[in-house]
């Protein structure tokens, strides 16, 4: 099984690199691989561009978009995998603890106040505040994963109501409805390299953490008492996981808006294909999540070229049936054994 898992992670890495490469070539202008390589090499060496328009499109616009989307997909899927493990339910996703609603409220609040440039930061702050609130309420009512889920449910309901009010508010201030909708549909293009770098760093740290502390996470899935008996402090692990996922979700939302399904469905798919080990599932989910979102975003900009579709919509349309097929395939496979 471990061998099979290693092979799968290796395959996912290759597929991720291949998908990102193809995504770099696809868009309003298609590049031949040789042209793209030449443009990138020129740019890395700091040489004068032989075609400035190619360089502008490939290096200044498409590269941050592809890398940023990979970071977002990896963050969401890794966060989802972690939460599904520690909350012991395949229904968990990065948004289940209120981060999405919080980010939405933050984004809408900044739009409502007319702070268009501060939208990403406000989304990040909103995600963190809402998750902190979920954590505080969850601990106040008991502190177990179930209490945390219930608390997240309540915070999500509250932020949902707040978003509705703000959506009316942004529309009322004149012209906020379109950007607000874009945020909620995940229709934002990553462009800021410092946020993208932060996203990749956090994703790498989450993978590293899951490799180093995978045993603690796995033990936690046995239940709280067995975990304690084996020397793991469930609440501490839970706290670290929740903080890490809030950070991951906040950065992801600030980069690309609210993108659903990746964070929920990708970990379900990897979980169906891999043994229930955090050391395998979190890195695999991160790779598959990043790859999926890069693919989805490439489709979003090419299907109705030059018209852009929201990535979140395509992710939902493609993701749901594919994951159902994976789960069904796995179930059929198990039945045959």
């Amino acid at each position: 099984m471990i061998t099979r898992a290693r092979i799968l992670v290796a395959v996912l890495t290759v597929v991720a690199l291949a998908t990102c490469s193809v995504a770099l070539l696809a868009g309003s202008r298609w590049f031949a691989p040789t042209t793209a390589a030449q443009v990138l090499v020129e740019s890395i060496r700091g040489e004068a561009a032989s075609d400035p328009v190619d360089t502008a499109i490939l290096v200044k616009l498409r590269l941050p978009r592809v890398v940023g989307m990979f970071a977002v997909g990896a963050l969401l899927a890794a966060a989802g995998a972690l939460l599904q493990l520690v909350l012991a339910t395949p229904l968990a996703d990065p948004y289940i603890l209120g981060a999405s609603g919080g980010a939405g409220v933050g984004a809408l609040l900044s739009l409502w106040l007319g702070l268009l440039g501060g939208t990403a930061l406000a989304a990040f702050a909103g995600a963190c505040v809402a998750t902190a609130l979920t954590l505080a309420i969850g601990r106040a009512i008991g502190g177990s994963p179930v209490h945390l889920l219930l608390s997240g449910l309540c915070v999500s309901a509250l932020t949902g109501a707040a978003m509705s009010v703000l959506l009316l508010g942004t529309a009322a201030t004149g012209h906020g409805a379109a950007p607000a909708l874009a945020w909620l549909l995940g229709g934002v293009i990553p462009s800021d390299w410092s946020t993208i770098t932060a996203g990749l760093t956090v994703a790498a740290l989450i993978i590293l953490g899951s490799l180093l502390f995978g045993r603690d996470l796995d033990v936690l899935t046995l239940g709280e008492d067995p975990a304690r008996a084996l020397g793991v402090r469930p609440n501490r692990v839970l706290l670290v996981v929740v903080l890490a996922t809030a950070l991951a979700t906040g950065i992801a939302v600030s980069l690309a808006g609210l993108i659903g399904f990746i964070g929920a469905l990708v970990p379900i798919a990897t979980r169906a294909l891999l043994p229930a080990s955090a050391r395998m599932n979190v890195p695999a989910a991160a790779l598959l999540g990043g790859t999926s979102l890069v693919l989805v975003d490439a489709l979003a900009r090419t299907v109705l070229r030059p018209t852009e579709l929201p990535a979140g919509v395509i992710a939902a349309c493609l993701g749901a049936p594919i994951v159902l097929l994976v789960i069904r395939g796995e179930a059929v496979g198990r039945a045959r054994l």
């Binding site: 309003s28 499109i57 616009l61 201030t173 379109a178 909708l181 293009i189 070229r305 030059p306 018209t307």
Partner: protein, 337 residues
């Protein structure tokens, strides 16, 4: 409501469900079936096909009209029906001779005060796209005649719209005169650019969504006006009449002129995310666009002029002036003479 709000409403629908083509079809607008062209004011009853395709019979010349949507109000004012207007929405400019106390009946976020409309005891309410659920049905339920005229999406539809408003308000001759004046003004301006080689133009309506501005697509009024202004819309092959495009697609299109309908100082104070010429020129990769290199990024007063109302010839002249500055004076004179 302003046309910009309607466009946002349409853009949101495009984003969510790609209903743009359906809406564009609505934009073809209703026509006055039996409105006699030159038979003077006493031509009632008048039968009109409304935006939903239903026959509406206006039995007598209306004495109390509530008009929503600035183009409806402006056109009624222009054809001498201003004295019949007893209420307008919150966004329309009041008729020139209207008292400051002219009642406003809402319109923020498509929320209308139906009770206020009923209190005005109108014998005709003229509405537009997007008000069907918010207002029209409620008024019909209490027996008030509602005429939903849709949003004129072409020059011909605009002229039909004027004719229709003349027929239902009992100002057939004035409407006919305005149609002639508009048609000849538009033709005179069109002639000016007829011999110039079409210039590639990118027309931006709203850039409040980070990295993915809205432009105009095929079948839109602006697309039609651009063709008459000696321009070729670089997104004439996009999907929908309010498509969202990426910076990448704009850089790829290499427009010779960029026309901004969303520039600070040229849009109302409630416009969220207005741009400046400098901010557009500073976008990543835009330094490779001919329009930016040649200082051909030009704002227009689109909300006042580039709407399907009585100032359309003037609007076309303004657009032509933005595309071909050397012809601006000639175009302005041609629109007025």
């Amino acid at each position: 409501m302003s046309t910009r709000r309607i466009r946002h409403y349409a853009a949101a629908l495009t984003t969510v469900s790609l209903l743009a083509l359906t809406l564009a079809a609505c934009g073809d607008g209703p026509a006055a079936d039996d409105a006699p062209a030159r038979s003077g004011p006493a031509a009632f009853p008048v039968t009109i096909t409304d935006a939903a395709g239903d026959k509406v019979v206006v039995r007598d010349r209306p004495k109390r009209i509530v008009a929503l949507f600035d183009v409806n109000v402006a056109t009624l004012d222009e054809i001498g029906a201003d004295a019949q207007i007893v209420g307008i929405d919150d966004f329309a400019a009041a008729p020139k001779d209207a008292p400051a106390s002219l009642p406003r009946i809402g319109g923020d976020n498509f929320q209308f005060d139906a009770e206020a409309v009923v209190e005005l005891e109108p014998d005709l309410v003229i509405t537009s796209i997007g008000t069907e659920d918010a207002l029209d049905q409620q008024l019909r339920d209490v027996g008030i005649q509602v005429l939903s005229l849709g949003y004129p999406g072409t020059i011909d539809a605009t002229l039909d719209h004027v004719t229709t408003l003349g027929a239902v308000s009992g100002h057939v001759d004035e409407a006919s005169a305005l149609v002639d004046e508009l048609r000849s003004g538009i033709d005179r301006v069109t002639d000016i650019a007829a011999d110039t080689a079409p210039v590639k133009v990118y027309y931006e309506t709203d850039a409040s969504v980070s990295g993915k501005p809205y432009t105009v697509g095929p079948g839109s009024l602006i697309d039609e006006l651009l063709a008459r202004a000696g321009a070729r819309n670089v997104f004439a092959d996009a999907s929908g009449f309010a498509p969202q495009v990426s910076f990448e697609a704009i850089v790829d299109a290499q427009p010779a002129v960029i026309v901004l309908a969303d520039a600070k100082g040229f849009v109302g104070p409630r416009f969220l995310g207005a741009v400046t010429v400098d901010s557009v020129e500073a976008r990543p990769g835009f330094d490779t666009i001919p329009a930016v290199r040649d200082d051909a990024v030009r704002p227009v007063r689109a909300d006042e002029l580039l709407v399907p109302g009585p100032r359309l010839a003037e609007g076309l002249a303004a657009l032509l002036g933005a595309v071909h500055p050397e012809l601006a004076d000639e175009a302005t004179a041609a629109a007025q003479s």
